[in-house]
């Protein structure tokens, strides 16, 4: 009897070694440790044993059961672990495989520049005005101190609809329109982004349609130093904290005194390079103190009311900021260019 039990134990342990899935293990457990399994059968057959043999065999059976159960548990947890590992491996994804990426839309570079500049001036307390593209000769020229046959009209080649109606050559007509609409209210603080038209042949630096941003401030006692203050803060905000500005005398019929504003070359920082023609400065905008005639025509007659105005080309600034070298690219809309503007850009 004892030999038979010992042989069964050896057999059971040998059987267990090649069981490596949970179903075979369960079958093994039923076969050896189940209610109708071999150990139970052996226990039941103890009735035929003598009184002396019974405890001895009983103890042996219990010992064998303990060994088999322990070995089984060890084996079972190994198999479960292995299965779990396999499951885990099966569920592993190649995290480097591209995801389902939504298409990204890009804001047009000119719009990007406009929005940035708008935000800067909104922060200064300016509001945004927009005006008509088709303008009257009066608002495009006369109300800006450019009477008919004024030689300065030659500065701007104009597309006409008829002798009194034209495509605006600058955003400045909105200076005159805003003054007339708001007078005598003060202060006036506006910017005017918008498309303008010049009778120019298109090439790398000229476009018959382009984009300007006008600025106008009118209030009691506005001075040229205020103009400098606003423009310096603007330049620092747009081109960097260390920017400097320089004003040079210039001429616009609707400002007096007038100036061109330069900033430190953003490529060489002022050391001189081909972009800045080795001057260290880059021209950004035209500005000046609102001409008294413009204020008077706009309905502001009171002495002591002064103002400043400025105007800049959005294409020029976008070209400087993003290194675009041909103005026509803004209107060609090559997706290979626009795609580059899906990212955040200053």
């Amino acid at each position: 009897m004892l030999e038979r039990l010992q042989a069964m134990k050896d057999q059971a342990l040998a059987d267990l070694t090649n069981k490596d899935d949970i179903v075979a293990l369960e079958a093994w457990r039923v076969m050896y440790l189940g209610k109708k399994g071999e150990l139970s059968t052996a226990l039941r057959s103890m009735g035929s044993l003598s009184q002396e043999e019974r405890p001895v065999v009983g103890q042996v059976v219990n010992e064998i059961r303990a060994v088999l159960e322990q070995t089984f548990e060890t084996k079972r947890s190994q198999v479960l672990q292995k299965a779990a590992n396999e499951e885990e491996r099966r569920n592993q994804l190649d995290i480097t495989l591209p995801g389902r990426t939504p298409f990204l839309g890009a804001e047009h570079p000119l719009q990007k520049v406009i929005r940035r500049i708008e935000d800067i001036f909104l922060g200064f307390g300016f509001t945004i005005e927009e005006g008509p593209h088709v303008e009257t000769d009066y608002f495009n020229f006369e109300a800006l101190n450019l009477p008919k046959d004024h030689p300065a009209r030659d500065m701007q080649d104009t597309f006409y609809i008829h002798s009194e109606l034209l495509l605006r050559t600058h955003t400045s007509p909105m200076q005159a329109r805003t003054l007339l609409a708001r007078q005598p209210e003060l202060p006036v603080r506006i910017i005017v982004p918008g498309r303008v038209y010049r009778r120019d042949d298109d090439d790398a630096t000229h476009s018959h349609e382009f984009t300007q941003m006008e600025g106008l401030v009118v209030d009691h006692g506005i001075s040229m130093s205020d103009l400098k203050g606003v423009l310096l803060t603007f330049a620092k905000e747009l081109f960097g904290e260390h920017q400097q500005i320089r004003l040079r005398p210039s001429f616009f019929p609707f400002t007096e005194p007038s100036a061109e504003m330069d900033v430190r070359c953003i490529y060489c920082g002022g050391d001189g390079c081909s972009t800045c023609k080795h001057t260290g400065w880059i021209e950004i905008l035209g500005c000046g103190m609102v001409h008294p005639h413009v204020l008077t025509m706009g309905g502001y007659h009171e002495e002591g009311i002064t103002g400043f105005a400025f105007g800049m080309g959005m294409e020029r600034i976008a070209m400087l900021l993003y290194g675009i070298t041909d103005i026509r690219q803004f209107y060609m809309n090559d997706l290979r260019l626009l795609d580059q503007f899906t990212q955040i850009a200053r």
Binding site: F103, G105, G125, D149, A152, L167, R199, S223, R248, P249
Partner: protein
């Protein structure tokens, strides 16, 4: 406007200054020096030589062997290829080791004969050959007989000079002369001006020739003239030719060159008439008669309008005042005497005539900008004197001056300047004494009224200065704009906020960018011919286009009335570059004239437009993607309207009849009978022309949208009772728009119907060929209680009866 450094130095002391410094300072003072370069490239060791002999080259037909005396050692042997070389000529000779703009000259053998240098052409000396007379550019540069043999060509021709190009602003026409620039330099450095004093003494008159002048137009304020006789027409002195050349004017002969020279010197254009061509020795300045013609110097017969000012005699026109002289009074080699004209013509008339006839010249340019009447007589005297000196002429009349202005009108402009005004305009505490110092440097006289006020008397050369603010600029630019401090603008606080429409535009732009559409910008100017590309025929409202009077190219002749062609062009451009997925939008303005032709400002309507073509998602390793279809563009448009605060129940869709849309796959969006936009599939006949795949377009009228927007939002309370959901599959006719079924359900299910949505549409064998099954999801809810099954069943019953009556709909099982 070009000037040269040495020429400028004749009128203002430049001692201790360099061209570089003056260029920088002029630029900073508002007279920008665009560029500066030496008159000629580097020239060294080129001397004046006299050709002694010219012999044939033993080995070459085209070459000659010359002996040239350079007043230093033995005559040189020089091999020369020019045809015009001849004995006794004075010529520029580059001796061994000489440097020319084109390189270094060394002695060398030419076909077996050693050449000890080179005889130079004008071009080889770096002179602008385009402006030189032909005889001086074909072959070697033949110098005058009195040229000193042995002298350096650089000093003889004044080649060591700097040319500066001034980029003048339109107001500074005073600097269209050496005199004006000299005044500016004098003001910068506090120096004085010395213009040549040319008063012709009456006693020098040898022979008197009669001349009278009559001004018969208000467009000539001053006319002065003088007769010079016994002239010898020849080349002008070389120094004068060189200066004219340097500033870009072709030397012609001594008389013409002198008028040009004085124009550059004083800014006063002059003209010389042949004295004998003037009938009755009388000059009449008058307006042209209608349909009068003048043959101008260039031989063209020009018909002028009555706005033109003519110089005439009692019988005929002699020239177009301020624009071009006439052929009949041209100075020729037979001219015995000339009348020099120095006058002031009306800027506007001159400008109009010069523009009409496309005859803009250095003279007309100056008349257009206004002439300083104070120097008109001086310029006349200067020209007469130069003709005496360089054309052996005799002054044959006193200077005659006629003016139409009364004396008071010619009074010096007087501007009252208040110290406080200037200080507060500039934001800079410039003192009265600093201002007076600037006036002194400018040569403006002043009268001090008090510590607070002074009067400035502006000389007539500075026509740009008329008001106090102009003086503020003079003060600022001459003390330096960099002296103006930086200050913070004061005053009432204003909120810098976007207006509602601007806010909405930004929101919608972001919406479209987030949907993966790229923003594009296209031109407003277009041509009617592109309308045919999108099948728009005559009669369509888009053909009512505002046209330009003076277009520049045939592709840009009018203002667009529709955005679609622009977007198709962008798509085609990109498709041609291999892009198959095109998702673009534009916030564009279209121009709708109130009448044709356009007389007043049109309606400028901002439109939100877009074009979708290609795949919905990027192609990846995760299975197939699909192409855009009608419902993608429909979905974008509906979401865009929702974002704008336009509720779905405010809008209705109607099939569009626009010619560019595919029939059956396009819609117009209406709200309260107002059209606010459209969307749909572009006809394949159109897209194929643009080499595009199936493309879907949307076009929303932003003005119309704005009118519908409701931006105030008050939230609905969240429900406290459970809702009851029911699904119904209704079989209806295939052509029945689903929206009608949905509307019928909404209208019949009672107010406790919270929502109804379409979740499936089935067509196929199971419902029959002309039918479709529409699966609806209904949600019922009462605010105060849970609805019972019986209640819901009753509502569904009602719904089913209504759709049965209206559409013959029945439940699908």
């Amino acid at each position: 406007m070009k000037i040269t450094w040495n020429w400028l130095g004749e009128y203002v002391d430049l001692a201790g200054l360099t061209p570089e410094k003056v260029a920088t300072d002029l630029t900073n003072a508002g007279i920008p020096v665009e560029w500066m370069q030496p008159l000629s490239g580097q020239v060294k060791d080129v001397v004046i030589g006299k050709v002694l002999t010219v012999e044939a080259h033993p080995n070459a037909d085209r070459l000659r062997v010359c002996k040239v005396d350079v007043a230093k050692g033995d005559p040189l042997t020089i091999v020369c290829g020019a045809k015009n070389v001849a004995p006794d000529q004075n010529v520029p000779v580059a001796i061994d080791g000489a440097i020319l703009p084109g390189g270094k000259i060394k002695r060398s053998k030419l076909r077996g004969v050693e050449s000890q240098g080179m005889i130079c052409s004008a071009g080889e000396l770096g002179l602008d050959a385009r402006l030189l007379p032909k005889e001086q550019t074909q072959g070697i540069f033949v110098l005058p007989q009195d040229a000193p043999v042995g002298e350096s060509i650089v000093s003889y021709l004044s080649l060591d000079d700097m040319v500066m190009e001034l980029e003048l602003t339109p107001n500074r026409s005073d600097c269209l002369s050496l005199r004006g620039v000299a005044y500016e330099v004098a003001a910068l450095y506090g120096r004085s001006i010395h213009m040549p004093d040319a008063v012709v003494k009456e006693s020098s008159l040898a022979e008197k020739l009669p001349l009278s002048v009559e001004i018969a137009t208000e467009h000539c304020s001053l006319y002065t003239a003088q007769v010079v006789s016994n002239l010898k027409l020849s080349a002008s002195p070389l120094w004068m030719q060189m200066r004219l050349l340097a500033v870009g004017t072709r030397p012609i002969n001594n008389l013409v060159d002198i008028t040009n020279y004085v124009m550059y010197e004083w800014g006063q254009p002059l003209h010389a008439f042949d004295y004998d061509a003037i009938s009755e020795h009388k000059i009449v300045v008058r307006q042209a008669h209608t349909t009068e013609t003048v043959m101008t110097l260039d031989g063209e017969v020009r018909e002028v309008s009555s706005s033109a000012i003519l110089i005439a005699d009692p019988q005929k026109a002699l020239g177009l005042a301020g624009v071009m002289g006439g052929r009949n009074s041209e100075v020729t080699e037979y001219t015995r005497a000339v009348v020099i004209e120095s006058a002031v013509f009306d800027p506007v008339s001159t400008r109009q005539v010069a523009r009409q006839l496309a005859l803009r010249s250095e003279a007309s340019l100056r008349f257009e900008k206004g002439i300083d009447e104070d120097i008109t007589l001086q310029a006349l005297a200067r020209a007469a004197q130069l003709m005496e000196t360089f054309a052996q002429g005799n002054i044959a009349s006193n200077s005659i001056a006629k003016s139409t202005k009364i004396v008071e009108q010619r009074q010096v402009k007087q501007i009252a300047v208040f110290v406080k005004h200037i200080q507060s305009l500039l934001g800079y505490a410039i003192s009265q004494s600093e201002m007076l110092e600037v006036c002194k440097r400018l040569g403006f006289t002043v009268r001090v009224v008090s510590d607070e006020e002074f009067h400035v008397f502006v000389p007539s050369r500075r026509q740009d200065i008329t008001i106090e603010a102009d003086m503020a600029e003079e003060f600022a630019r001459l003390v330096g704009y960099d002296r103006i401090p930086v200050s913070v603008m004061r005053g009432q606080l204003t909120a810098g906020v976007l207006k509602p429409a601007q806010h909405l535009k930004r929101t919608l732009r972001n919406f479209l960018l987030d949907r993966g559409l790229h923003e594009v910008w296209t031109y407003s100017l277009t041509a009617p011919k592109v309308l045919a590309n999108v099948l728009i025929d005559e009669g369509h409202p888009a053909t009512k286009m505002g046209m330009l009077l003076n277009p520049l190219s045939e592709d840009r002749v009018g203002l667009r009335t529709i955005v679609l062609p622009s977007l198709l062009e962008v798509a085609a451009y990109n498709s041609n570059r291999g892009q198959k997925n095109i998702r673009i939008f534009e916030f564009a303005t279209i121009f709708l004239p109130n009448q044709i032709p356009m007389l007043d400002q049109p309606v400028e309507a901002p439109h939100i437009t877009g074009l979708l073509s290609g795949q919905v998602e990027s192609v990846g390793p995760h299975g197939e993607t699909r192409l855009f279809d009608f419902y993608d563009v429909s979905g974008i448009v509906h979401a865009l309207l929702t974002t704008s605060g336009i509720a779905q129940d405010q809008i209705s869709l109607v099939r569009s009849k626009e010619p560019y849309y595919q029939t059956g796959q396009c819609a117009e969006i209406y709200s309260k009978n107002v059209l606010i936009g459209s969307f749909g599939k572009i006809k394949t006949t159109v897209t194929e022309c643009y080499d595009l795949q199936e493309s879907f377009y949307f076009d929303l009228d932003f003005f119309m949208m704005q009118k519908l927007i409701k931006s105030d939002l008050t939230v609905r309370e969240l429900p406290k009772t459970p809702g009851a959901e029911r699904d119904l599959a209704l079989v209806v006719d295939r052509d029945l728009p689903v929206q009608q079924v949905v509307d019928a359900v909404k209208n019949s299910a009672g107010h406790e119907l919270e929502n109804v949505s379409v979740f499936d549409v089935y067509t196929g064998d199971k419902v029959g060929a002309d039918k479709k099954s529409v699966a609806l999801h209904l949600v019922f809810r009462a605010d105060d209680r849970t609805l019972t099954d019986q209640e819901i069943l009753a509502k569904v019953e009602t719904v089913l009866n209504v759709v049965k009556d209206e559409f013959g709909a029945y439940l699908r099982f």
